[in-house]
């Protein structure tokens, strides 16, 4: 232990989880008690009423959770792109969100120019591959061995460039995703459960399924292919990967291309739900709290983090948002993540932080 020493985090009581749980439980109990006794009703509105509503209309709760689940899946998909790149190259790729928009825009733009839908998909994949190659050549290779923050800033540069490039080529106005041409289902399935009506959009179901399939494929890819194993090796140690005999440059191209594919699929799903525009950029930032929750290097973390954030912010917005003027969706996700972070600085699934002394 004399060479590499793990520095344990300062212990909050014996186990931080227990302590946190006790505190939260105590607070809730106190709040509920207070709410019952409070005359003005403010505490009641915060601590009792939302739960009453949930119990009173379980169908609404189910609907809200579903909505959250779906946006959570999309967050998770963006986060997945982040994780792929971070694992393999240590780059915090801020441009992942914009890659989603850019991929979707390219697809729609090509179709608008008369390219058949499926061909457009293939061409878009080609564009994403070229983008991966270009990024590796122009950005990553010259910046190899620079500090993380420099690479992080470089992805900002990529973001700006892609925004400008995308808008110059395809124009800045929002566009419709070519959902029909891609045989994506439309309409909704209404379920009569819990004493009410829960409406599930077919596209959302499709999104969930496609996302699951993609994650499964990625898992298989990492587990069973030579390149996949090399990628995992890279995540552990750059030297190890080199000894496997795959050049770092190739790996970066592959990883960025993979992230590009994920971005395209995310873009299609997201575009089908709303429309394709650069406003998505801000929404894509939501992937960041997801990453905090899930840890920067964990794929399951990204998925579970995405779901927690998605569901959490929908429920928060629906039940508590009106109390303080609504629109809290824009920041709630970050606070949820921050709350988790204070107890697990490395995220839910992140590697334990080890400090060498």
């Amino acid at each position: 232990m004399s060479d590499v020493a793990a520095r344990p985090a300062p212990n909050l009581l014996a186990n931080p989880w227990i302590k946190a749980g006790l505190i939260v439980a105590g607070l809730i109990a106190a709040a509920m008690l207070g709410a019952r006794l409070d005359g003005s009703g403010t505490l009641y509105k915060i601590f009792i009423d939302p739960f009453d509503q949930m119990a009173a209309a379980p169908d609404l709760l189910a609907q809200t959770i579903w909505e959250g689940l779906v946006s959570g899946v999309l967050y998770a998909l963006i986060a997945l792109g982040f994780v792929l790149i971070f694992k393999a190259s240590g780059v915090f790729n801020f441009a992942q969100g914009i890659m989603v928009v850019f991929a979707a825009l390219t697809l729609v733009g090509l179709h608008e120019k008369g390219v058949p839908a499926w061909l457009a998909v293939i061409l878009t994949l080609g564009v994403m591959f070229l983008l991966a190659v270009a990024i590796e050549r122009v950005v990553l290779r010259p910046l190899v061995n620079q500090p993380d923050i420099i690479l992080f800033m470089a992805t900002f540069g990529i973001t700006y460039f892609l925004i400008g490039f995308g808008e110059s080529v395809f124009g800045g106005s929002p566009k419709q995703m070519i959902a029909d041409q891609l045989y994506l289902p439309k309409g909704a399935i209404d379920l009569k459960i819990l004493g009410g009506l829960v409406s599930l959009q077919k596209i959302d179901i499709a999104a969930a399924i496609i996302a699951s399939v993609m994650i499964a494929v990625l898992a298989l890819f990492f587990q069973y292919t030579r390149i996949g194993r090399a990628l995992r090796a890279v995540a552990d140690s750059h030297k190890a990967a080199l000894s496997v005999g795959i050049s770092l440059n190739q790996i970066w191209v592959i990883v960025w291309f993979t992230a590009g594919i994920v971005a395209l699929i995310t873009g299609i799903m997201w575009g089908a739900r709303s429309d394709v525009s650069f406003a998505l950029e801000i929404v894509a930032l939501k992937a960041l709290p997801v990453l905090i929750l899930g840890g920067f290097t964990s794929i399951p973390g990204a998925i579970i983090g995405g779901l927690i954030i998605g569901i959490g912010e929908k429920i928060g917005e629906f039940y508590w948002g009106p109390l303080i003027g609504g629109g809290i969706e824009s920041w709630l996700a970050y606070f949820i993540a921050l709350g988790f972070l204070l107890f697990r600085p490395q995220g839910l699934f992140g590697d334990k932080i080890i400090e060498r002394i």
């Binding site: 122009v138 620079q146 460039f161 400008g164 800045g172 709290p289 905090i292 993540a337 921050l338 972070l341």
Partner: protein, 359 residues
């Protein structure tokens, strides 16, 4: 080439520790100040002063603030714009509540509010580091931005939701409001920026700056020197947010002259200021000025420069091309000199000092 350092020796530690130990640098600084105080108001037209110089000064101050946090203390923040917003709204509330108090004082005091909020959002920095912290500061960005829209008390419940900048006088001359002349506003900005840069320079060159840099470079060893990490980090957050807050107040009161402030202090502004710091040079005050000049003037140059060169372009296209160019330039700069313009400046200066030798 212009440096004649022979004969410039230090016989006291005070002289040795001066910020500008070389006489030629002091002369250069004096010339720059002369240009700023006399040359620019004489030569520059209103457009130049309002669209180039004042934004440059405001951004410089904000960049200095962020540089203290990110460049000197090593904590990345993506919430600078929000802290600027706190300054702007605080100043608005203050000047409404105390219309008789000097506006300059209020601008500075509003920085204190920003500092307090900054400390609050800096609290997690003890436990979380690096990118995790960057994301945490996004919470501040989005929450505060939300608050600027949703908390009507902040904008005095007026219907437009905008800050209305009242007219305030300094020595009988209108400094804010519609009738304040660009020159007046420019002078006020200039003086504030110079004084605050001086303070920042004092801080980073002394014990406090050393503790910040120690925390940045090797926090474990810093702790061993008796530096309390939380205190050092929170102080950095406080000072950084103070600078951002003052810059925000200046932005609304001395530059925009009011308006939909919530839209102004958006995440993109945060990013832009981060760019300024990185392109300018982390851990360099002069770099903050370079970065601000570069990022703030680039869109203006694109907008007015390209048509002037005979490149016809619609407004929208120009904007798109600007985006592309900014993106490309950021990448190019990072590749050419990851340590920013300040390092280039330093290298250039070193070349001049060793001239005609290459080293």
């Amino acid at each position: 080439m212009f440096y004649r350092e022979a004969g410039q020796f230090k016989s006291t530690y005070a002289a040795d520790m001066a910020v500008f130990p070389i006489r030629q640098d002091r002369i250069g600084l004096a010339i720059i100040l002369l240009i700023a105080f006399i040359g620019i108001p004489l030569i520059g037209n209103d457009f130049f002063i309002t669209s180039v110089m004042i934004p440059f000064l405001v951004f410089s101050l904000a960049a200095i603030g962020l540089n203290i946090l990110t460049g000197y203390t090593g904590l990345i923040s993506l919430g600078t714009a929000a802290f600027m917003g706190v300054g702007a709204y605080a100043c608005y509330k203050l000047t409404t509540a105390f219309p008789g108090v000097n506006i300059i004082v209020l601008i500075l005091v509003s920085g204190l509010f920003s500092a307090a909020i900054g400390v609050l959002f800096g609290l997690p920095s003890l436990r979380i580091k690096g990118f995790y912290l960057a994301v945490a500061t996004l919470a501040a960005q989005f929450f505060l931005q939300w608050a600027f829209v949703r908390v009507p008390w902040l904008f005095n419940y007026n219907a437009s939701g905008a800050i209305e900048v009242p007219q305030r006088l300094l020595f009988g001359i209108p400094v804010t409001g519609a009738s304040a002349s660009p020159e007046t506003r420019y002078f006020v900005c200039l003086c504030l920026v110079i004084v605050m840069t001086w303070f920042a320079s004092n801080l980073v060159h002394g014990k406090i700056g050393r503790s910040w840099m120690a925390v940045r470079d090797m926090d474990i060893a810093a702790e061993l020197m008796g530096i309390k990490l939380l205190n050092a980090k929170l102080l950095a957050f406080a000072v950084s947010s103070f600078y951002a807050g003052v810059a925000g107040a200046m932005m609304i009161f001395l530059w925009y002259g009011g308006g939909e402030a919530a839209d102004v202090f958006n995440i993109r502004l945060s990013f832009n200021i981060l760019f300024m710091v990185i392109i300018g040079g982390l851990g360099s005050l002069i770099g903050s000025f370079f970065g601000a000049a570069f990022i703030a003037s680039l869109p203006t140059i694109m907008k007015f420069g390209l048509p002037a060169l005979g490149v016809p372009m619609s407004g929208a296209t120009a904007e798109h091309v600007t985006f592309m160019l900014v993106g490309a330039l950021i990448i190019i700069f990072l590749i050419v000199e990851p340590h920013g313009l300040a390092r280039l400046w330093q290298i250039g200066k070193q070349k001049l000092r060793t001239w005609p030798f290459p080293y």
